[in-house]
Amino acid sequence: MSDGSLLALTLAQARDGLVRKSFSAREFALAYNDAVEEAKVLNAYITPTPERALEMAKATDARLARGEGLPLDGIPIAVKDLYCTKGVLTTAASHILDGFHPPYESTVTSKLWQAGAVMLGKTNLDEFAMGSSNTTSWYGPVENPWHRQIGSPKGDNRPLVPGGSSGGSATAVAARAALAATGTDTGGSIRQPASFCGIVGMKPTYGRCSRWGVVAYASSLDHPGPMVRTVRDAAIMLRAMAGHDPKDSTSAPVPVPNFEAALTGDIRGLRVGIPKEYRVDGMPAEIETLWRQGAEWLRSAGAEVVDISLPMTKYALPAYYIIAPAEASSNLARYDGVRFGLRVERGTLDEMYEVTRAAGFGAEVRRRVLIGTYVLSAGYYDAYYLKAQRVRTLIMRDFAKAFEQVDCILTPTAPSAAFAIGEKTEDPVAMYLNDVFTVPANLAGLPAISIPAGLSGEGLPLGLQISGRAFDEETVLRVAEVLERAAEFRHVPSFVAGDRG
């Protein structure tokens, strides 16, 4: 099998191929290592780990030879550089974590390695997961493997953002420089880049995947999750990633179902909600059209499409941008130069703290830490933080009420397709609006998935989002797969590894 066709396999297909010994794990890892190298121009990786990949592939081949294959044996996975990987540089894409080699492995990646997966490397991201474009990384921006079609209105060869914060993971999967990747989603950071890069990204229910060993941004909003090529792949990978972790007090003590078994293809009688408040001002017509098309696809498959109302929708973003920075300002206080990372020696202790953190944090991180500090400070706590948490309760109630009428909700994932690097950086608020469709599910802790459903006028992927009840990933996946089948998204980005000549 040629490298190119090896790289084109989905996780489900590769899993079968390895078991049937159509190719060895070593061949597979070699092909992906080459792809990682080839995709360097996109800057998707901060730290490739080709030797480790080969070592792990060797163990896979040994197991497969004995007929003792593990669920993800030999699957080459990229890890967002927010997950601590033992002995491997972990940076959160920040200068302040220079040189940090964790003496421990995150629970989620431990589970993946225990399932036999193979580590390709650590992917780039927005610094400390704060961003929607992957342009705030200390290691430079990531490029979306998609380009605008020449001849289309803005059609040029300008590099586009992959979305963020899990931009590196999204690009890697889309460019076939990883078969699957881990991401984290705090305000949309898995789903939005998945939408921008034409792949599948899922944010499970809060507490479904352990946060232990994942560098914390906003504790009550961070969700580890899979970034993959198909809904089936998401089901397989999520099963391996999920599970109660006693080391994480917010980890849900619920069993992990066989998500793959939920992909029955049958959604007859299922009720799909279309929230009217998601029809925002200035939303491109093509996105609205795709949304309606999505509803039609589901109706044709036998679902009942229902108009619903989520009145608090517009307040989700401001609530998020109070709560997340507040938690982040506290979570990032530990980066002070004393026990790990960058240390700038300067005068007194406080001077050392101040100068180290000023040098180590980028502008967006600094902005959010300052806002977070402010909204928690004396005199402002009630007006901002407490207020936002009350609004959050109302948002959860909105969803609870909606789910009395429907079983899942269909919306677009993002209010636009990928934009050019540098195009939206002047106004932070404009950047924040990228998350308008994704943030509510983070505030409510509900599972949501983005699948590529169509192309924009410029030839860029557009995603549709399905969200559901807490711990009902099964319904979400089932509906998403039906949508995926109807959408038949076979488009491939302009850059794809293994596609030379």
Partner: protein, 481 residues
């Protein structure tokens, strides 16, 4: 009441005590809590606030806090919340301390103090909450550097806040002693101020009697009861002087300088701390099962106040004596095991000779060379006349030195009391015969010589003559046979 230049002033004191919880592991991590380990050898990545680390609460630490609340007659809050107290300091690796602010696990309670004049004062407890201890910074190892040891970071602390009900340094001392006693009874804290398992911050203000509370200053860095008292006295006088000169008290945090016996403001720029408390999003609210709490209440050991009441009624001890004996659980236990037939004798022996010996040896009662059973045996041997009370003290001293049973010592040294009337009479005869001049003086009116004759008889019998018999026979012989 302190007499100032312009009239009387009342000192108002509230104490915030930080008590280190006795537990094997820390409050939110699985690292060990042993005292005195090599630096940074009892530190979990959670304690060191490494990226991605998360807290998980230790059930036993919660239990210890609830037991302490029950022992303080306080309300147990079935739902409480952990909040982050945010500030920067090198011994606080996360840049925040996990503590409790608006909803502590224990609410209002009270402690009864036995005052020296026999009265009882009730001191209110405002609250008790659980929080993480910080690590230790050493500032004296190097001219320009501080060294940080995180072994202590994350150990469970109970912060016990009293109402501002204390009115003198002496009351503060008694309160601390009582609090420490309760904690040790419960086994929730060993109350060792020298090792730092009990620390005290003091809030001091002064006011004219009957007037509202004045502005208070907080005094930190008090690691002995003596320093607490000195600091209170100094601070009260400082504030009074300032106010009498027409000044205003600056609400501030001060440190106690034990070398100079004064309090002074902290040198670091004291911008009012804005701790930005908010509920810790890595933790959920702590919800306690009321049945679990009741079970803990039922399993509480008998506490000092109740034990004192029982000692007075069951053993007929005086209130003062009972107070002394119940102050430490180990002492009370020792006493009760020795009380057997003669509780009053046991009380006297424990509070007198035993405490004296332990002080000399510098050990606590749990390391006593004499066991309660041995003391009981000695008391019995004196009571049944085998040995005189006076010689009993010598036997006791020997027991302390060698740990041997009293019966064995008595045998080995031949100290059995002589109760043979004939032998005593013979000894008396010998003495009186040898002291014929003095006998004549006695008969002539010098009654004081009686004691001299007794002494001579005791010497002649190596102290073994039964004193009652000596008296009886001596009187007979002196009065004319």
């Amino acid at each position: 009441m302190i007499e100032g230049r312009t009239g009387p002033w009342e000192t108002v004191i509230g104490l915030e005590v930080h008590a280190q919880v006795i537990s094997k592991a820390k409050l939110f991590s699985g690292a060990a809590t042993d005292f005195g380990a090599e630096p940074n050898t009892q530190v979990s990545p959670v304690d060191a606030a490494f990226p991605g680390m998360l807290p998980v609460i230790n059930r036993f630490c919660v239990e210890q806090a609830v037991k302490t609340g029950l022992g303080l007659n306080a309300k147990i809050e079935l739902e409480s919340v952990f909040e982050r107290k945010n500030y920067f300091y090198p011994d606080l690796p996360a840049g925040y301390q996990i503590s409790q602010y608006q909803q502590p696990v224990v609410g209002r309670g009270k402690v009864a103090l036995d005052m020296p004049d026999g009265t009882t004062r009730e001191i209110g407890i405002t609250r008790l909450h659980l929080e993480q201890d910080a690590g230790k910074s050493l500032h004296d190892q190097h001219p320009t550097l501080s060294y940080v040891d995180l072994n202590r970071a994350g150990v469970a602390l109970m912060e016990i806040v009293s109402e501002p009900d204390l009115r003198s340094a002496e009351e503060a001392r008694i309160y601390l002693r009582k609090l420490r006693s309760i904690l040790r009874y419960l086994g929730t804290c060993d109350g060792n101020m020298e090792e730092g398992s009990l620390r005290c911050d003091c809030n001091v203000s002064v006011r004219r009697p009957g007037h509202p509370y004045g502005i208070r200053c907080e005094i930190k860095n008090l690691n002995s009861v003596r320093f607490v008292m000195q600091a209170i006295e100094y601070e009260a006088r400082r504030q009074i002087e300032l106010l009498e000169e027409g000044g205003v008290i600056d609400q501030q945090t001060r440190l106690f300088d034990s070398a100079r016996g004064i309090t002074r403001p902290m040198r670091s720029k004291e911008e009012a701390h804005d701790y930005r408390y908010f509920p810790d999003p890595d933790l959920l609210p702590l919800v306690l099962d009321p049945e679990w709490v009741e079970r803990l209440r039922a399993e509480l050991p008998e506490l000092p106040d109740a034990k004192k009441v029982r000692f007075v009624s069951t053993y007929g001890l005086s209130s003062d004596d009972a107070s002394v004996l119940v102050a430490e659980k180990e002492t009370a236990l020792f006493f009760e095991r020795a009380a057997g037939h003669d509780p009053k004798a046991a009380a006297n022996w424990v509070m007198g000779d035993l405490f004296g010996a332990l002080n000399r040896l510098g050990v606590g009662i749990d390391e006593s060379p004499v066991s309660a059973e041995q003391l009981g045996a000695l008391i019995d041997l004196i009571a049944d006349g085998t040995i005189s009370g006076r010689l009993g003290k010598d036997v006791f001293a020997e027991m302390v030195a060698t740990g041997t049973d009293p019966a064995a010592i008595i045998e080995a040294k031949g100290l059995r009391q002589v109760t043979d009337e004939g032998a005593i009479a013979a000894a008396i005869d010998t003495v009186l015969a040898a002291q014929a001049e003095k006998v004549a003086e006695y008969h002539a009116g010098r009654d004081k010589l009686y004691g001299f004759f007794v002494g001579q008889v005791m010497r002649a019998t190596q102290g073994k003559a039964n004193p009652a018999l000596v008296n009886q026979l001596l009187k007979e012989k002196l009065s004319g046979k």
